[in-house]
Point group: C2
Chain length 142, copies 2
DNA sequence: ATTATAATTGGAATAATTCTTGATTGAGAC
DNA sequence: GTCTCAATCAAGAATTATTCCAATTATAAT
């Protein structure tokens, strides 16, 4: 797995509180990693990386932090089939394309001006709270 | 959980072989239940129901049957968040709306003439093999 | 400083699913 | 009909991601 994170990443300023969530040191570091590693890491991926800065952090805490961030709408949880959940700081409405060849997960945006509700025949009165669009396939080599 | 299955459902004819998969008794009964119970049952739901006809079947066999049917494109596996997988005999391209109030899962079709590839900005060369669209929300009472 | 509240930790527990192994079945050859 | 072989099935053990729990630590409020 290739990481694009530079050795000395520009520090990301993280406020003490986001959306009413107290940003403890652990939550800050977990969030920072998601900002830096855009490859949709799993909880365990985050755990391994966060230990560089917080050697005593536990996996349970990473799960707790991720859950708190998800609950407060600061990050999103992404599921592929029955694999480990992955986490993503991109809050815009978007889907994910999972390249079966490389394992890379690409964010997929809607074409401009299009929303999912425009193209689906939803049950009458349906109020959507959450959407998950996952695509799996290959990228043809040209 | 309410079942809409009548007590004496019309028997469904199931061929001996579908898509090259030998339709054993166990696979037939598992498939029959999916045809009859359109509420997207879990493996365990299927297991409990199939025992009426095959009292000696094991849960592992239900999993094996479901996997074989999925592999051969006879049914689809549907995942919601990290819950148990559910299974669905509707093979047309469609999504699922999970009503958080009732727990009911509704199939959601595309508006006529629209396909997902029309509305997404896919990575160049992407060949989609599988799509999963899951919506979660509530249905407003009018 | 004291108290109350919330967060963290490490390990145990859970639950869905998969794996393993041996028994059974069924289709075709004879 | 029965023999053979591969596929399938059954039962329980194993796995794995995740959650829970109880004890400790940190933070905030008074």
């Amino acid at each position: 797995m290739v990481s694009k994170t530079p050795d000395q990443p520009a520090e990301i300023e993280i406020p003490e509180e986001i959306s009413g969530l107290r940003m403890t040191r652990q939550r800050q570091e977990v969030y920072r990693i998601l900002q830096q590693d855009r490859n949709h890491p799993t909880a365990n991926d985050v755990f391994m990386r966060v230990k560089d800065r917080l050697p005593n952090i536990s996996l349970a805490t990473v799960y707790n932090c991720l859950e708190a961030l998800v609950q407060h709408g600061i990050i999103r949880q992404v599921n592929f089939e029955r694999e480990s959940s992955r986490y993503c700081p991109n809050l815009s409405e978007h889907g994910h394309f999972h390249d079966a060849t490389t394992g890379i997960i690409h964010d997929v945006d809607f074409k401009p001006g299009i929303s999912l509700a425009d193209v689906l025949q939803l049950p009458p009165g349906a109020l959507i709270e959450d959407v998950e669009i996952t695509l799996r396939g290959k990228i043809a080599v040209s």
